[in-house]
Symmetry: C2
Subunit: 738 residues, 2 copies
C-alpha cells in the first residue's frame, strides 16, 4: 500500500456512481447523457470508467477555476450576510481562492454544492436516488490515504487529542464529524474524574453509596454545561457560529402550494404548519407502539429468565436458560429496526422543508427507540423485580405449562411456593456489569470488527469465485479488464471504496449518549462503570477512526455548530439521572434484608428523596450554568476584537473618525462663534440694549427669542455664575442683577 | 392649561438640573463653567435659567444639525454591525436625518447620548451625581403635554390598546416603557379567559376545584410562552432585535486594572470574574437575612393575630386585634426598604461593567425580597396553619404572658385547651380575598393617588407660606422674580416638572409579576381572583399612564428587546404554581372535617400529586413552546424578506447574477470546447492513435493523462453509453470495445 500510485487521487474531486438498472437500458442511457451534460454546464469536467458489473464511475473535477471562485465567493457572501463571518469577503471574486485558501473539506463541500444544489441556486441539481436522478446511486469524495494512515498511527500513540488534531480532522472531513471527535475527546477527559472517584468509592464504600451519587450527579451537570460552552468555543474557532441559520432545503419536500412572495419575488413553497402539527401527533401512537412492542418483549424475556434461572428446576434447564437471551438478541434488534424504518417513514410523511428539521425529528424518534431498548431491562430489575418480586413470582408459573410436555419427572414440575423463592441480590449488579463491560465489547466487535471481517471475506470469496470461473473457462471478463495499465491499481481502489457503506456520525453520537445515560442513571449500582467506559472510549475513538477511514466511504463534509439534538438528550439524561439515582440510593443503600428484599420502602420517603434530589439538581444546574457563562475565554475575546476591527474599518472608510477629538482652542472650535474674538465680551447695559434692538428687528419667534437671551456659551456661563452667586443658600441678602 | 404657550417646549431637547451645594460656592461655580464648556464642545447650545432656590436649569438643544447627523449615523452603523438593522445605512452621513426621520424618542435618546456618553465615545461625559459631575442632579426631557392629554383621554375611552397605540407610546417614550404597556395589554387580554372560567368555577364548583387548577396551570404556561413570542414579534416590528448585544458601560465600574488589547489597541478595563463570583456569593447570606428578617416578622405577627383573634378572650381585645396589622404595615415596608438598600449596596460592590448586568443583578435581588414579603403570609396559612394549627396553638400561650399585666379578670387569662380551639376555615379564603382585592386597591391609592395629593398639597402649602411671608414683608424674592414675562408660564411648568421624581418602569413590572404570582400560586383558593385582577389591570394601565405623564418627569427613552429578567420571574412563578396548586388542591379539596382540619394528609399522596403535577407541567410547557415556535407570522416573513433583499442587492452590486443561467447552445457555452464544431467527432481508430501520439508528446503527468482519456464531455458521454451497452445485466454475450 506504499506505492506512489495509491498516494494520489489524480486530482479527482468527486466520484459519482451511476447504477444501470436491469430494465430499460434506453432510459438509463438517456439519464446518463443528461448527467454528463448537466455536470458540464455547471462547470465540471467528467471522466467515466467502468465501475462494478452494473455501474459506471463518473470522476468529476472543477473545469474552470473562475467559475469555482464565483461559487466560493457567493457562499462566503451568504455566510457574511447570515452573520457567520464577521469580515466581509474582499470585493474581487477572482481573488477568492488566493486570499483565503480552501481546506480539503471546504473544497469538497463546495464541489458537492455544485453537484447537488438545485438549479436555482447554481448547482447541477443531482439528487441521488430521487426523482429524475434515480440511477445516481451515490456521490462521494475519495479517501486521502496518506492522511488516514497518519491518523491511525498517531491516534494509537496518543492518549489525548489536542486542538490542532481536531482542527486537522475538521480540515479533512468537515465540522460535523470534527464535533463528534471533540465531544468524544471531552467526554473521555472528563471520565478520568468519575473513574478515579468511582474506583475509590467501590473500594471504600461499596455499591449504592450516597456520596458517589451526589458526586456523580454533580459531574453530569458540570460535564454537560462545560460541553455546551466548548461547542460555542469551537464554533468561534472554526468560524461556524450561527451556521444553523442557513438551512438547506430538501428536495423531497412536497409543498401544498407554491406562492410568490410579493416583496422579494421569489417562489415560496408552502405547507401549512397546522397540517404538519397534526401529522406530528402521530408520534404519540408511534411512541406507544415502541413502548408496548419493545417493552413486552423485554418483560416477557425477563420473566422467562427469572422463571428459568430461579424458579424452574426441571428438564433441559441448562439449555433453556439461554432461551431468553436468544430471544432478546434476535427479537429486539429486529423490532428496533422495524420501528426505526417506521419512524423514518413517519418523518418523511411529516414533510419537513429543510434537512436540519428532518434530521432533528428523526433523531428524536431514534432516541426514544434506543432509550427503550437500552434501559428497560435494568429499569425492570431495579424498580420492579427487587422491590416486588416476591409478590409477582407466584404468577410466573404460567410458564411451567409450556414446559409440561418436556417433563421427565413429575417432581420437577412442582410449583415452587413463595417461601422457597429467594431474590438474587446480585442480579442488578450483574446486569450493570453486563451493560458496562460486556455490551460495550460486543458493540465494538459488531461495529468495527465485523464489517472489516465481512469485507475481507466477501473479497476473498469473489476472488475464489472468479478464479474458479476462469478455470472452468468462458468466464465473463472482469470489470477491470479494460483498465489502462497505469490506472489499474487506482481504479481497483476506487471500486473498493465505492462498495463501502456511507459513514453516519449520528449512530456514533447515539452510542455515546446512551452510554452517558448509563453513567447518569444507573452507575450508582456499580461504581466501576466509569472506569470501564474510560477504557472503552479510548478504544472507541480509535475504532471510530478506523471505521471512518477504512470501512466507510469518505463522507461529504457538512458544517455544524453543535452536536445537534443529542445535546438535548444529554440534558434530559442528566435530569432523569437525578431522579433514578435518588430512588436507587434510597431503596438499596440500607442493605438487603435476609430475604434479599431491601428494607421496607416507604413511598413517602422515596418520593421525598426524589423530590429533593431533583430540585437540588435543578438549582445546581442553574448555578453551574451561570458560573460557566461568566467565564471569559480566548475565543470570545477574538470575536469581540474582530467585530471592533470591522467597525473601525467601516467607519474609517465612511470618513468618520472614531472619536470626537475635543477641540478647545484652534480654529473651528465650537467654543468660538462667528465673531471669534468677541467670545468673551462684556455684558453691559449698552450691549444688552443693542441685543434687544437686534432681536426685535430679526425674528418674532418665541422659540428664537428663548434661545437668544444668552448669545453664546460664554454668556450662558456668565449668567449662570451670576445666578449661583445670587443664591440664598444661607444668608438673606439679595441683589438684583441680570 | 389650554394656552398656546404650554403647548410648546421652545424646541428644548433636554434640561439639566444643576444643584448648588451649600458649601464651596467656588467649586460649584467652576463645575458649572466646565459643564457649559463641555456641552458646547459636544455640539449643544445652552441657555440657563433660575431653577428653584438652590438650583439652575440648563436648557440644551442641538446647535449644529451636521454634528447631530454624524452622531445618528454612527449609531446606525453600530446597530447595523451588531445585527440590529439589516439594511446598511446610506453612505452619506448628511442625509441621515432626511432619509430616515427620527421619532421623538429617538431624538431624545441621541441627545441623551451626546450629553452622557463618555468622551471616548463622542459624548460630553456628564454623569449625574457621580464623580466630577456630582452637582448635576438630573438630566431629563420635557413632557409633551399635548400628547399626554391625548393619551389620557383616549385610554380612558378604550378598553384595548391596538398595535398603533403601542407604536405611539414607543415613538414618544422609548421601547422599554412601550414593552411594559405591551405586556400589560397582553396580560389584560389574556385575563379574560381565567376571569370567565374562574367565575363559572366559583359558581358551579366552589373553591379548590381540580378542574380550575388544571385550566389555570395551562393558562399560565400558554400566557408566558405567548408573551415570549410576542416580545420577539415586537422586537422585529420596532427594529430592536438583538439590541441587548449593545451594552452600555457603567461609569461607576471600578476596574482592577486597565490593559491594552493587543489586537484592537483599545483600552480594556479588567475585573476578574472569579473575584466577582466571590462577591456574588454574598447574595446567599443576603437571601438568608431576608428570609429570617421578613419571615420572623411575618410569622410573629401571624402568631399574634391568631392568638388574639381565636384564642385570646381578654381585655382590650377589640383594640389589640389590630396590633399585628399595624406592626406588619409599619415593619414590613421598613425592613423591605432597608433590605433593598442593602441589596443595592451589594450590587454596587459586585461591580458590574455594564448597566444591563447591574440591572439584572438588582432585579433578581428585588424579586427575592418581594417574593418573601408578598407570599409568606399566605404560604403560612395554607401550609402551616391549617394543617398543623391544632399542634402549634397550645404553644401560643407565650403571648398571654405579655398581656397578663393588662388583665382585668383572671378568667380572661385561662389558657385555652386544645379542644376549645377551632380552626377558622375561612381564614385562607379571606386572606386571598384581601390580596386579590383590598391590597390592589390600597396599592393603587399609594402609587397613583397619594403622590398627586402630596404634590398638590405641597404646592398649596408653599403658596400659603410665600403669601404669608409677603404679607409679613421682607420676603425673599421668589425664584420666578426675574423671569422674562413671556417665559413665565413655561418656566413655572419646567420648575414643577423638575421637582417630580423619576419614572421607574421596573417597579411597575415588579407589581405585575407579583400579581401574576398570586394568580399562578394561590388563585385556586378563591377562583374570583382573576376577575378582580381583570378590573384592577384596566385601572392600572390608566393609572400608570397618569403617573407617567403627570406625576413623574418624562423618562429618557431606552431601547430594549424584552421585559428583561422579569420574564425569568414569570417562568419561575408559573413553575412554582404547578407545585403549590397541586398541594393546595390535594390538601383542601376533600372538604374540611368537623374540626376545620382538612382530611388526613398523607405525605406520600401529597408528594405524589406534586410530583405528577410538576412533571406534567414541564411536558406541557415543552409542547406549548414547540407548537408556538412553529407558528409563522408577518414579522418573521418581513425579517426573511429584508434579509433576502439585502443579499440580492449586494450580489448585484458585486456583479454576480443570483442564478447561473443554463447556457446550452450560444457562444461561451461550456458545452462547446475550443474547437467548437468538433464537439461531436467520431471516435475512430485513427483519431485514437492521433490522441495517443499527442498525449505522449505533451505531458507525462499521470493526472493529466487520467483526465485526457476523454477529451470533452461528448466523448465522456459516448464512452459511457458504450459501457452501458456492454453491461452484462442478463445475458452473457460480451463485446470488447473501448
Amino acid at each position: 500500500m506504499a506505492s506512489k500510485v495509491l498516494q494520489t487521487n489524480y486530482d479527482v474531486d468527486y466520484v459519482i456512481i451511476y447504477r444501470v438498472p436491469k430494465v430499460d437500458k434506453a432510459a438509463a442511457t438517456a439519464q446518463f447523457q443528461k448527467l454528463i451534460r448537466t455536470l458540464t454546464e455547471t462547470g465540471l469536467t467528467t471522466e467515466v470508467r467502468r465501475g462494478d458489473e452494473t455501474s459506471l464511475l463518473v470522476f468529476v473535477r472543477i473545469s474552470d477555476e473562475k467559475i469555482f471562485s464565483n461559487v466560493v465567493y457567493r457562499s462566503r457572501i451568504k455566510d457574511w450576510l447570515y452573520g457567520i463571518r464577521q469580515i466581509q469577503p474582499s470585493g474581487d471574486p477572482g481573488q477568492t481562492l488566493s486570499s483565503e485558501p480552501l481546506t480539503d473539506a471546504e473544497r469538497h463541500r463546495h464541489v458537492h454544492h455544485m453537484i447537488c444544489f438545485p438549479r436555482e441556486e447554481g448547482g447541477a441539481g443531482i439528487t441521488p436516488k430521487h426523482g429524475e436522478w434515480d440511477n445516481v446511486e451515490a456521490v462521494f469524495p475519495l479517501h486521502d490515504h496518506a492522511q488516514n494512515k497518519k491518523w491511525l498511527t498517531e491516534f494509537s500513540r496518543k492518549t489525548f487529542l489536542n486542538p490542532e488534531d481536531l482542527d486537522e480532522i475538521r480540515n479533512t472531513v468537515g465540522e460535523k464529524i470534527a464535533y463528534y471527535y471533540a465531544f468524544l475527546q471531552t467526554y473521555f477527559s472528563f471520565l478520568i474524574f468519575p473513574a478515579a472517584f468511582g474506583f475509590s468509592c467501590w473500594v471504600l464504600l461499596g455499591n449504592f453509596s450516597a456520596i458517589y451519587a451526589v458526586v456523580n450527579g454533580l459531574w453530569c451537570v458540570v460535564f454537560v454545561e462545560y460541553w455546551k460552552r466548548q461547542e460555542q468555543e469551537l464554533a468561534i474557532r472554526w468560524g461556524v457560529k450561527h451556521v444553523s441559520a442557513i438551512q438547506a432545503k430538501r428536495r423531497e419536500f412536497v409543498p401544498e402550494k407554491i406562492t410568490t412572495d410579493h416583496i422579494t419575488g421569489e417562489k415560496v413553497a408552502y405547507f401549512p404548519a397546522k397540517k404538519r402539527l397534526l401529522r406530528q401527533l402521530l408520534q404519540i401512537p408511534l411512541a406507544l407502539l415502541c413502548v408496548i412492542a419493545l417493552g413486552t418483549v423485554i418483560c416477557t424475556c425477563y420473566a422467562i429468565e427469572i422463571f428459568l434461572s430461579e424458579v424452574y428446576d426441571g428438564p433441559l434447564k441448562s439449555v433453556l436458560v439461554f432461551t431468553p437471551t436468544i430471544i432478546l438478541t434476535l427479537a429486539v434488534p429486529a423490532i428496533s429496526n422495524y420501528l426505526t424504518q417506521f419512524a423514518e417513514k413517519l418523518t418523511f410523511y411529516e414533510n419537513y422543508e429543510t434537512h436540519e428539521a428532518h434530521d432533528r425529528a428523526m433523531i428524536s424518534k431514534v432516541f426514544v427507540i434506543n432509550f427503550i431498548t437500552s434501559y428497560t431491562a435494568i429499569f425492570l430489575t431495579s424498580f420492579v423485580y427487587v422491590p416486588f418480586a416476591s409478590l409477582l413470582v407466584p404468577y410466573l408459573d404460567i410458564f411451567s405449562l409450556t414446559v409440561k410436555p418436556f417433563a421427565e419427572n413429575e417432581k420437577q414440575l412442582q410449583t415452587p411456593s413463595a417461601a422457597s423463592f429467594t431474590i438474587d441480590p446480585n442480579r442488578l449488579r450483574n446486569q450493570m456489569i453486563y451493560f458496562a463491560v460486556t455490551a460495550q465489547i460486543v458493540n465494538f466487535a459488531m461495529e468495527t470488527v465485523l464489517p472489516i471481517v465481512t469485507q475481507k471475506g466477501t473479497k476473498k470469496y469473489k476472488e475464489m469465485q472468479s478464479s474458479r470461473a476462469e478455470k472452468n473457462g468462458g468466464a465473463a471478463p472482469s470489470v477491470s479488464a479494460n483498465d489502462p495499465p497505469e490506472e489499474k491499481e487506482f481504479l481497483t481502489r476506487v471500486r473498493e471504496e465505492a462498495a463501502l457503506p456511507d459513514y453516519d456520525v449520528t449512530s456514533d453520537l447515539r452510542e455515546m449518549c446512551i452510554q452517558f445515560g448509563y453513567l447518569s442513571l444507573f452507575s450508582v449500582i456499580w461504581p466501576l462503570t466509569p472506569v470501564s467506559y474510560f477504557f472503552n472510549n479510548w478504544v472507541e475513538l480509535r475504532g471510530d477512526t478506523f471505521k471512518l477511514t477504512v470501512e466507510c466511504r469518505r463522507p461529504t463534509p457538512t458544517r455544524a455548530d453543535s452536536i445537534g439534538p443529542w445535546l438535548d438528550s444529554l440534558e434530559f439524561l442528566a435530569w432523569l439521572g437525578s431522579i433514578t439515582t435518588a430512588a436507587l440510593v434510597y431503596m438499596f443503600s440500607g442493605g438487603n434484608g435476609p430475604d434479599g428484599k431491601p428494607h421496607t420502602i416507604k413511598l413517602a420517603a422515596l418520593l421525598l428523596s426524589v423530590f429533593l434530589s431533583e430540585h437540588i439538581f435543578l438549582v445546581v444546574r442553574l448555578l453551574v450554568r451561570s458560573a460557566i457563562g461568566k467565564l471569559d475565554s480566548a475565543a470570545m475575546r477574538k470575536e469581540r476584537s474582530e467585530r471592533f476591527m470591522v467597525r473601525k474599518k467601516f467607519l474609517e472608510e465612511a470618513g468618520l473618525a472614531d472619536v470626537i477629538k475635543p477641540i478647545t482652542t484652534g480654529p473651528n472650535s465650537p467654543l468660538q462663534d462667528e465673531s471669534g474674538a468677541q467670545a468673551f465680551t462684556e455684558i453691559t447695559r449698552e450691549t444688552l440694549e443693542d441685543d434687544a434692538r437686534r432681536d426685535s428687528l430679526s425674528s418674532s419667534n418665541p422659540t428664537d427669542r428663548f434661545w437668544k437671551r444668552q448669545h453664546n456659551w460664554a454668556e450662558t456661563e456668565k449668567v449662570g455664575v451670576g445666578l449661583i452667586d445670587l443664591m440664598d443658600l444661607g444668608s438673606s441678602t439679595t441683589k438684583k442683577k441680570q
